[in-house]
Each structure stands twice: as C-alpha cells, then as structure tokens.
C-alpha cells in the first residue's frame, strides 16, 4: 500500500512536470499550427541557464555543482533558487520569440519546413549545450531551508520538492493559463485565432503580435519546466529529446491545442510511466525494462478510438 501511494505520487509529480512543459507546446501548436521540435531544447536550455546563474551568483565554494557525490555543502537561500528560475524562464521566453521571428515567421503554413528548421535548431542546440555544459548529469539545488521530504498520513515519506513544489507549481500554472485563456483579451484572441486566424486579422488585430506573445508564453513554460525538472530530476544531454517526446505523447493523447487535453494527457503518461516502471513484474518475469512500450500502447489505444486525441478538434 505504501509503495502504491509512493508510486502514484511519483506518477502525479511526473505528470505535473509533463503538463508544464507540454502546455506550452500545445498552446503554440493550437494557435500557430507550429510543431516546435525545439521545445525540448528550450526545456533543457532553461534548466542549464538557471544552473549557470545559480552556480555563478549564489555558490560561494565554486564546487562546480558536480552532483555525483550528492549534495555539496553549499547553502542556498530561497532566492538562490527563485532568481535563477525567474531569469532563466524569461531568457527562454525571449529565445522563443527570437526563434519564431527569425526562423518561423517566414514559413507560416509550411509545416514541413517549420518542423525541419526546429529539428535542425534542436540538434545544434543539443551539441552546443553538450560542449558548454558537459555530458555529466547535473542538478539545480533547491533552497537549503526547504525540507528534503515530508511525511504523509500512513507513514509515507515523499520528496518535498517533488510532492509540494512541483505539484503546486503545475496546479498554479494550469490555473493561471486557464484564466489567461478564458478571461484576458489576449486569451480570447488566442482562442479566436485557433478557430479562424484569418478572420482575426480581418478584425484589425495584428496576429503577428499575438504570435509573439504566444511563443513567449509557450517557450517560457518550457523554461519553467526545465528549472523544475532540473531541480526535481537532473539536467543531462538527452533530456531535450526525452521531453520533446513526452510533450508529443501528452498532446497526442490529449489533443493538439487543448489545455485540458494536455492535463489529462500528462496525467495518463505520468501515471502509466510510474506504474509500468514498478508493477510490470509477473512472478519471475520482470518486464520493467520494457515499460516504455506501455506508453506507446496507451498512445495506440487513444488514437484507435480518438484519432484527434481526447480533446482534439479537426484543424
């Protein structure tokens, strides 16, 4: 029972992280029909930038944050985590806007070109990050004042950052996005743009500016995800493609362009991931190495019955 609760919590927190990253991906796709294959790179870069800021500004014993030996002795205040989070997130938002304006704006409606351009960018970014940040897995330090774990009813111990910070961040972000999309004029224009972009411009609205806003927001979410993920799990080469793949799965399950769909898709993926990692043992037969297959079985199952995803609509 304890194990089940822990595994479920693991699934939920993974789902929370997937949701944060995939919501940006799905919003960008919904409005602009751009499949941003560099979304995972923005995630990883966001994490690395935060780590860089944290080690440069907030680490006194320049111990280079090599986390193989566990935590270094350095003390981190809450600001030593929050300031890198905010700065890295904003920087990634701006990078997203630059990416859209410089590379994608000229290729509107050309899906294949945009996909290829963003794949190319992700390959270049991956190599540059490997060159600059190295191939060893690193992590961003959470504030030292925060407890490492909390004890839940039933004597279940669970990581504080994972269970409290990441989960509540995802809930807050989900709520915030919902309010932005539902209540603000920007959000209303975005929804109208998802329905009929051309008609939005025929009302005198500069859609390009809305695109800039959306790419900023979408990239920003990848950046937040990177910092959360870099603190919760770690930062390493390959995380970029892993999170791109996760985002793709999440939005394919949930339906491209749907925020609610991203939440459901993230939950499904997170829980299936977590359960398959632990419960795929049948007597002597240990299939946990093949847990990824369950993920794709989930994908196949959803697509067989809802080809556009659970909340998808025809483009």
């Amino acid at each position: 029972m304890q194990q089940f609760v822990t595994v479920t919590l693991n699934g939920l927190t993974l789902a929370a992280l997937y949701f944060v990253v995939a919501s940006g991906f799905t919003l960008i796709f919904g409005l602009m029909r751009v499949v941003n294959m560099a979304h995972g790179s923005l995630y990883l870069l966001g994490g690395y930038i935060a780590l860089e800021i944290q080690t440069r500004w907030f680490t006194s014993d320049s111990g280079l944050g090599l986390s193989l030996s566990g935590k270094s002795d350095a003390e981190y205040s809450v600001f030593a985590w929050l300031i890198p989070l905010v700065l890295a997130t904003l920087i990634i938002g701006v990078i997203g806007v630059v990416l859209q304006q410089v590379f994608l704006r000229w290729n509107q409606g050309q899906d294949l070109r945009q996909a290829l351009i963003t794949i190319a960018l992700s390959v270049i970014l991956a190599d540059q990050m490997l060159a600059y940040f190295g191939g060893i897995s690193k992590d961003i330090a959470a504030p030292s004042a925060w407890p490492t774990s909390i004890t839940l009813p039933g004597e279940v111990r669970f990581g504080f950052f994972r269970g409290v910070v990441v989960l509540s961040a995802a809930v807050l972000i989900g709520l915030g996005l919902y309010l932005i999309i539902k209540r603000t004029r920007f959000g209303k224009i975005v929804r109208a743009g998802v329905d009929d972009r051309e008609m939005v411009s025929a009302l005198g609205i500069n859609v390009n500016r809305v695109f800039i806003g959306m790419f900023f927001l979408g990239a920003l979410l990848a950046g937040i995800g990177g910092v959360l993920g870099g603190t919760m799990i770690s930062l390493a080469p390959g995380q970029d493609t892993a999170f791109l793949l996760n985002s793709l799965i999440v939005v394919i399950i949930g339906g491209m362009g749907s925020l609610g769909g991203a939440a459901i898709g993230a939950l499904a993926l997170g829980l299936v991931d977590a359960y398959a990692d632990v419960y795929l043992v049948f007597g002597d037969l240990d299939l946990t190495n093949y847990s990824i297959i369950v993920t794709f079985a989930l994908l196949v199952g959803v697509l067989a019955f809802r080809p556009l995803g659970l909340y998808g609509r025809p483009a």
């Binding site: 509107q108 409606g109 004029r185 209303k188 224009i189 929804r191 109208a192 998802v194 329905d195 009929d196 051309e198 008609m199 939005v200 411009s201 025929a202 009302l203 005198g204 609205i205 500069n206 859609v207």
Partner: protein
C-alpha cells in the same frame, strides 16, 4: 470614398480576378453574378484575406490611402470591414467575447454597447456561444463584429444566405440605415429581389471582371439582362 483600379488576384497561378475597377461612395452597392464569377474573391482581395500563397496586385484606395496588398489587419484598421460568407464566427467565443476582442475604444463611433443597441437580440444572448445562435443572430454578430473596427466601407459577402425572409427584410433595413449614416457598403447578393431592394447601383461580375454596372430599375425591367448575368429565370416569370 473607395476606389478600386486594376485589381488582380491569383490563387497560385490561377488568375481569378482580372483588372477589376469600381468606385463606391457612402451608399449600398449590390454585387451580383453567377457562381464562380469572383464575387467572394473580390471581397477577400479587398479585405486582404485571400490566404497565404495567393497574390493581389492593383490599387485599392480608401479616401486616398493605398491599401492594395496590405496585410488584413492594416486594411481593417484603415477602415474596410469584412463580413464573410458563412459568417465565420469563432466557435469557442461567446457573443460578448466576439465583440470584446476587436478592442474598440470607448470614444470610437462603434462600441459593443452601440452594437447591442443596434441588435437587441444579441444583448439578450451575450453569454451564449456565437455558433449556437440562429442564422439571423449569427449574421447580426458577424456584422456587429465588423462594425467594431469602425469601418468606412463594409464588404459583405452574401449576408442574406440562409436567412428567413423576415430576417432578410430587417437586414436590408440595417444596410440602408448604415449607408444613410455615411458608410459605404459593397454587398454580394445572389438573390435578385434582395439585391435590387437594398441597392440602387448594381455591379455585375462575369468571369473575374466587372462586366457592367446597372441600376435596380434597369435590371428589374430587363429579363434578358437577368438571364445573361445571373443565369436565372427572369424574376417576373419565376414569380
């Protein structure tokens, strides 16, 4: 007010609008023609919503300002409003949201409040999804939305399509009122009866060009013309 000279439009390599010229004052003008003659394309070309990859050349001047080939939002800001065929409402927006996104300022001639005054039916259904309205209400919303851009000229593509006769009468009244208030209206109309009752001037399109311009009286009294330009049985005989 609106002066179109030598307007050409291409869908890819297909030359759809050929050298269209027409002028429009503060009056309603009906644009008629058979299917596929380029009426909708003309509306789209004027509003800048021909879609990516399609070209427009030639001149569209609104009170002297050149708008030909400008992006749609510039054209709308400059004063050409667009009421598209099939209304093209946003399915995820409520009535009120349709009007809010346009971003009209309080001191503009048209505000959401004024649209609600013009179409009280819409005010009653503020928080209903735009696409769950009746056909007539949808048309009102599509017009109201375009009015909020504070247009000098309103381009309307088949506004009466699919509407009940009594609703069409109200629509004709609205169009005439707007013209009386100083707006230019270019109205595509398939129905000869509606076209002739809403406008004095009637522009006829054939094969992507303006074939001729005539008046309602002339057109009504000349069954031969009706047959030639519209391919319909003359109105008198049909009735």
């Amino acid at each position: 007010m609106l002066e179109v000279t030598g307007l050409n439009a291409y869908y890819g390599t297909a030359h759809v609008l050929q050298d269209v010229s027409l002028t429009l004052g503060a009056e309603p003008v009906a644009l008629i023609g058979r299917n596929g003659m380029g009426k909708s394309t003309l509306c789209k070309a004027l509003s800048g919503v021909l879609g990516p990859g399609n070209r427009v050349t030639g001149s569209v001047r609104l009170e002297g300002e050149e708008l030909g080939g400008k992006p749609a939002h510039r054209i709308a800001k400059a004063g050409i409003g667009y009421v598209p065929q099939g209304r093209r409402l946003f399915q995820s927006l409520t009535v009120d949201e349709h009007l809010l996104i346009v971003g009209a300022r309080r001191d503009d001639a048209w505000t959401p409040e004024r649209v609600y005054e013009l179409f009280p039916r819409l005010a009653e259904r503020k928080h209903v999804s735009g696409t769950s309205l009746s056909g007539g209400e949808q048309e009102m919303l599509s017009i109201g939305r375009a009015l909020l851009t504070n247009p000098k000229v309103l381009v309307m593509d088949e506004p009466s399509e699919g509407l009940a006769p009594t609703v069409v009468e109200t629509l004709i009244e609205t169009i005439k009122d707007l013209a009386a208030a100083g707006m230019g209206l270019l109205v595509v109309e398939q129905n000869l009866g509606v076209a002739t009752s809403l406008a004095e001037r009637v522009v006829v399109m054939v094969s992507g060009s303006v074939a001729t311009e005539t008046t309602s009286q002339d057109l009504l009294s000349d069954p031969e013309q009706q047959k030639r330009f519209l391919g319909v049985e003359p109105l008198a005989e049909a009735a």
